[in-house]
Every structure is written in structure tokens, then in C-alpha cells.
């Protein structure tokens, strides 16, 4: 058997082995991505050929009076999610890293536990806890502290922070574990050197730990931004976007276009594409701006 035929035969076998991957990715990943781009400039017709409508789907979405509200709400959610959800896991991980190795697993497991709870279970439970009546669960706790009662999800200005609180609770554990893993990679000599120079614990965290983890911290911040911009299930189940559209996010608007009765798939894909482009531009700008701090 010549080298060439052998090579071709290997390549054919490889093709056969890769077949499940190629079929699944082509059908359920690559093609939907291409189709999404196509659909954003089409209008579905149920008989006959598709109708090309150019930018009209985008024009329709951009002219939708609800879009502005959805964008503002999503930005608000993202900002709150970063304020609540970014420093907390980092601080937790730093503290947990000082626990004896044998007991660290307990702390990590407790922090990770909410991630394991199915989101719908957690959301419906929190929704109950946000009961606006004075006898609601959170209101009862607040009463013991002499505050409230608050209307939580029924209050247009409080609904979004309430959702962010739940979302942070549900997601923080993953970040804690990622930071913990990154912390173990910090070389112990650096701490010893800093201690010899008389640096306090705070100074060590500030001048050794954080700079050593900066790449991870920067990546996590970007991932959290991108994830928060795509929030859906929490507002969908807790408030359906209310009250008075105060929790209507971009993905909820997209869901309404596609599955809210009008079946406007063109508008939905156009909005999805706009968000994806916005996130891509944001990522590029972010990586540019933070390049100075990366290794």
C-alpha cells in the first residue's frame, strides 16, 4: 500500500469517525447561524419563495418604541449584576483560599450549591420569598430589622434589583470556583517575598494576588457582561417583563417577537443579530482598552 493511498484511507476513516460531529454541528449550529443572518433580511412566506426585505427587519426593530426601554433595562440589569456579582465571588475566593486545604472543599461546595439547584425551582422559590405582603418571607426578615415592607417585584424601581439579587445568588458559585482555581496558580514565593518586605495582608492581596490574577479577572468580567446582557429566564418567569415593562430585557423582547403570537421571526433574528454585533464590538473595545493590563 503506497503512502498516498494509506493517507487517503486514513482520511476517509477520519471522515467516517467525524461524521456525527459534522452532521450535528452542521444541522444544529453552523446552519442555524447562517440561516439567522439570512432570515434577518427576509420575511418568511409560507407559500412560494422567500421574500427579501433588505434592512426592513432592522428598521422595524430599531423603530420599536419598546426597544429603547429593553436596552435601558438590559444595561441596568448588567450594571447591577456586575456591582452585585463581580466583587463578591472574588472576595469569597480570596478568603476561602486561606482556609486549610482539607476544609476548603466544604466552603467551595456550599458556595457552589445554588448553581446545582434547577433555575426554575430557585426562581419560583425566590418569587414566593418576594411576596409583597407584610407577611412575605423577605418582608418578615426585614420587619425583624425594622425595615419595609417592600413591594419587591411589584415595584417598578425595585423589580430589577430583586431579579439581579436572585440571579447573583444562582450564579456566584461558578465564579468562586474559577477564582479559587486561579488563586492556586499564584506562586507562594511572591507572598513570602512580600511578607519579608513587611507588606500587610491587605497589601499582599492588593499588590500580589489581584495583579497575578488580572488576566482571569478581566476575562471573567467580560464573560459576566456578555452573560448578563443575555438575561432571559429570570425576568421571564418572575415578572414577564413587568411591572410596566420595567424588567423587559432585550431577550424578552426577542422572545415576544418570535413566540409572543406574532411569529415575527425576521424581527427576532434581526434583534438577536444586533445584540450579538453589539457584544462583539464591546468585547473588542474592552480587550483593546485592557490590553495594557494583560500579560
Amino acid at each position: 500500500m503506497s503512502v498516498r493511498t494509506r493517507r487517503r484511507r486514513t482520511s476517509l476513516t477520519a471522515l467516517a469517525v467525524a461524521a456525527p460531529t459534522i452532521v450535528i454541528f452542521a444541522a444544529f449550529s453552523w446552519w442555524p447561524i447562517v440561516r439567522g443572518a439570512l432570515m434577518s433580511v427576509q420575511r418568511p412566506t409560507f407559500v412560494g419563495p422567500v421574500e427579501w426585505v433588505g434592512w426592513s427587519n432592522f428598521a422595524y426593530v430599531l423603530a420599536d418604541p419598546q426597544l429603547g426601554q429593553a436596552v435601558v433595562n438590559t444595561l441596568w440589569f448588567t450594571a447591577l449584576a456586575i456591582v452585585f456579582g463581580f466583587p463578591l465571588p472574588l472576595a469569597l475566593a480570596v478568603v476561602i483560599s486561606t482556609v486549610r486545604a482539607r476544609r476548603r472543599g466544604l466552603y467551595a461546595a456550599l458556595a457552589y450549591f445554588p448553581v446545582i439547584v434547577p433555575p426554575v425551582v430557585a426562581i419560583l422559590l425566590w418569587q414566593f420569598a418576594y411576596n409583597p405582603a407584610p407577611s412575605g418571607l423577605f418582608n418578615s426578615i426585614l420587619r425583624a430589622l425594622g425595615v419595609g415592607p417592600l413591594a419587591w417585584l411589584n415595584d417598578a424601581s425595585l423589580a430589577m434589583p430583586s431579579i439581579v439579587l436572585q440571579a447573583t445568588w444562582a450564579a456566584a458559585g461558578t465564579s468562586v470556583l474559577i477564582y479559587l482555581a486561579a488563586l492556586t496558580a499564584v506562586r507562594p514565593e511572591l507572598y513570602e517575598a512580600a511578607a519579608l518586605d513587611g507588606a500587610s495582608v491587605w497589601k499582599r492581596v492588593w499588590h500580589v494576588t489581584l495583579p497575578q490574577m488580572r488576566t482571569m479577572i478581566l476575562v471573567m468580567l467580560l464573560l459576566q457582561l456578555i452573560g448578563a446582557a443575555q438575561v432571559f429566564t429570570e425576568p421571564f418567569l418572575m415578572t414577564s417583563g413587568g411591572p410596566q415593562n420595567a424588567t423587559l430585557t432585550i431577550l424578552l423582547l426577542m422572545y415576544r417577537y418570535a413566540f409572543g403570537g406574532s411569529a415575527d421571526y425576521g424581527a427576532a433574528t434581526a434583534l438577536g443579530l444586533l445584540l450579538a454585533v453589539a457584544l462583539a464590538v464591546l468585547s473588542v473595545i474592552y480587550l483593546r482598552l485592557t490590553r495594557r493590563w494583560q500579560e
Binding site: F25, A27, I116, L124, G173, A268, G272
Partner: protein
Amino acid sequence: MSGGILTSAELRRPGTRRMLLLVHTCVLASLVVAGLGPLLWLFAASLGQTDDVLSDPLGVFGHMTQWQHYVEAFRGVDTARLLGNTLAMAAGSAVVTVVVAISAGYVIAILRPRWAPLLSGGILATIFLPAIVSFVPLYLTVIDLFGTGISLQNSFWGVWLPAGANAFAVLLVTGYLRSIPRELIEAAEIDGAGPLRILWSVVLPLARPILGVVALLAAIGAWKDYLWPSLVLTDPKLRPISVALPQLERTNDLTTFFAILVVSALIPIALFLVFQRPLLASAGLSAGMKD
């Protein structure tokens, strides 16, 4: 612990140790309250009377007597079927994810045909595109496969097959297989083993740990999923419990509903407790596995 933020000399100082103990105790207490608290409260409330839970939600730990709510959770409601559907959804997603990941990983990391970079590039590219770009077109593809009129709606395949297109799973397995010593593969080749034989007898046994992690992450991811199954599995006979829960809340007594909530969280929690070690070790990767 030595070699951390605190030096071993400092750890021997009683003042530092007391301070550290205080901080650790506070953090542990908050983690118990915040991490376990909501679920413990839910469990306690599911054993109370609805009126008591509504009027005094903080007193639920004192009235844990109504165990029959767990019988009711299965009697009047098709909870068993919903759980079975969820289990089928999770198991099938895990199998498809593993099959695709090992198929891709074996080709990209071991067989390395000339077009392997193209394949891995195509898979990697999907990580950088937010899932929302393809969400609606994926839905339209699943309800009408390429204009053939075949619909995967209300079939578990509609959840299983798209779950397989998981770039992170492929990435994990490929990375793992890259670490297999080339000599092992070459030795098997010299012994006359073909590519399929090598996959079966050499690579699969070595890859078992990573395939277990991928299967576990895929199963838990599917168990947690809501939006996709709510669109694809609309038939009440097929829908998973996550999709049914918002409706069950309206049709059940509150405390019975709480029992249903506990039951639907039980299997992921059990999986977590059993496979804690590999799960925690790979949790950073699980961030990317689902949405």
C-alpha cells in the same frame, strides 16, 4: 496551610489565628445561610400547613409534620412522569454530547487528517457567537428539518441532538486526548490495530474520566434547562418538570407545590453530592457548557 497569602510564621501567631478563625466562621455561616438556607427553608415549608407558611414564613422550621405532601406531590400530579421525561432528556443529551465530543476529539487530537484544523476551527468559532444569534433559526430548523417536513418538536430528539452541538465539550475532550502519549497510539498501530480498534481499545478507556465529566455536565445542564424544552417539548406527556413547574404552581396547594419543587431539585443535588469532587474540579469549565 502554608504558601498562601499568609505565611506559615503568621499562621503560628495566636492573634492572627484568632482573627482568621473569626473571618472563616463568619464566611462559613453566611455560606450556610445563603447557599443552603433557601433550600432548607423550602424543605421545611413543604412539611408545613399552607396557612402557617403564608402567615408566618419564618416559623416553618417549627412545624415540620405534613409528610403527606410528598405523597400528594405524586398522587394528584403526574410528577413521576415529568421526572421521567426530565431524566430521559438529561440522559439522552449526555449520550449525544459524549458521542459527538469523542468523535470530534479523536479526529482532531489523534487521527489528525489534513482537514482537522478546519473542523476544530469551525467548532471553536461557535463559542464566540452568542447563542441568541442562532436561537430562532435553530427552533425553525428543529420544527421543520431542512424543509423535509420532519419535525422534531415533541420528540426528545429535538432536545438531544442540539445538545450535542456543544463546543465546550469538544474542547474539553480534545484537550484531554492531546495529552495521550503518541507512543501509545503508535504501538497500537504497529500491532496492526486500525483507527476504530485504537479508538475502542486504547483511547476510550483512557478518556473515561473526561467523558464522565462531560456526561455529568451535559446531564445537569439539560436538567436545568427551561427555555429550549419549553418550546420543543410542548406536549404535556413529554415536557420535563422544569417546563411544567410554573403551571403546577397555579394548580396545586402551596405546600404541596413546595414538595414538588424539592423533588425536582433532588436528582441534581444527589448527582452533585455523589460526584462532588470531579464536578467542583471542572466547575470552571461548566460555566461554558450551558448557555
